[in-house]
Subunit: 203 residues, 2 copies
């Protein structure tokens, strides 16, 4: 086992370091976050930092990169208060990845890249039609992370859309069957296969 010191890591070439550090935390859930601007332009961005915060109330967080790198999604969420999260599957992950490109804010990314927007009654933010598991969040709080100018964006679950056949008798969602993908590092995509559900652990 090799020891990598912080000094060594700091001195690496920038992209080598970014690949290494981005992989280090493990395989990540990967989704498209759907928003709409004040001017009505729909937007999608690839987010691999979605994290469960709690089930009751149902709160879900994600890390928004610094404004210089990723300004549109957080601006839209801040302006409208609503956003959607749409699982990426193997059926459309190459198209989905294209939404990580930095388009000008006035570009309709749905039309440009080719995934389809769908809308649900009473929800201003766009969903991804191709996605089999998606949900609507209402902004609760944007927590600025002072140490690196990122933001921890917290949303409250409002609604979920998925096929009932994915939900098992105890509420567990079969995301292997849904085809929900993972990302690794900056540009890797992976497929998940269930191994086992384990009983609740007691001392």
């Amino acid at each position: 086992m090799r020891y990598y010191s912080l000094d060594e890591i700091k001195n690496w070439e920038r992209f080598y370091r970014a690949n290494f550090i981005n992989c280090l935390t493990g395989f990540k859930p990967v989704s498209l976050v759907g928003t709409v601007s004040k001017e009505g332009v729909p937007n999608l961005s690839v987010v691999s930092s979605v994290v469960h915060l709690g089930a009751d109330p149902a709160l879900i967080g994600y890390i928004n990169r610094p404004l210089a790198a990723a300004p549109d999604t957080i601006q839209n969420i801040s302006d409208t208060g609503h956003y959607t999260v749409n699982h990426i599957t193997e059926a459309f992950f190459t198209k989905a990845h294209q939404y990580s490109a930095k388009y000008a804010p006035e570009i309709n990314e749905f039309e440009t890249v080719g995934l389809h927007a769908s809308y649900e009654e009473g929800i201003i933010a766009p969903f991804v039609q191709e996605s089999p598991v998606k949900y609507h969040l209402k902004l609760v709080e944007i927590v600025p992370i002072a140490h690196n100018q990122t933001f921890f964006v917290i949303g409250a679950l409002q609604a979920v859309f998925l096929s009932e056949t994915l939900v098992e008798a105890d509420g567990f969602i079969n995301l292997e069957q849904a085809g929900s993908m993972l990302s690794l590092g900056l540009d890797g995509y992976a497929h998940a296969t269930m191994v086992q559900r384990l009983p609740y652990a007691r001392p």
Copy 2:
């Protein structure tokens, strides 16, 4: 596609809701966080909310559950300022899962459950000997999340330990080869298979 309203979700039986909401965000990286108490008792806890915050400086976050549910890890981090994160693999995930049980703080969980502690020079927190990918974090900030009494714990990367054979020419870490597992919901474990690395997306 079925529409699940927030009202419906709120009225579900507690464990059904917990399974559903915990699955909703997708497959998660799953690790053991290693800490040591002021009194010198080593502790491990299963954490599936580790999230990449930035590569330079290298910052990594995780969600600590409310104090009533998970007091020891955050107390130890707060007291000592140091902790480790150790990837869980298929070789030992059933043992690792047992660390999600709520042991009394004076119990040496390594001895009780059977994974082995290992120590690195100058690092007070224990590593998991069985884990092939592990790193040392120094506490930067504990951000209380007022909405549900959880905490967003931010650490700065100090050192990494893994086999050099896992690191590809551009810094990408082959975590499929490492056998790093995923969790789904409260109790599901899954295996990842790489599908593809995609080129950097440009408009």
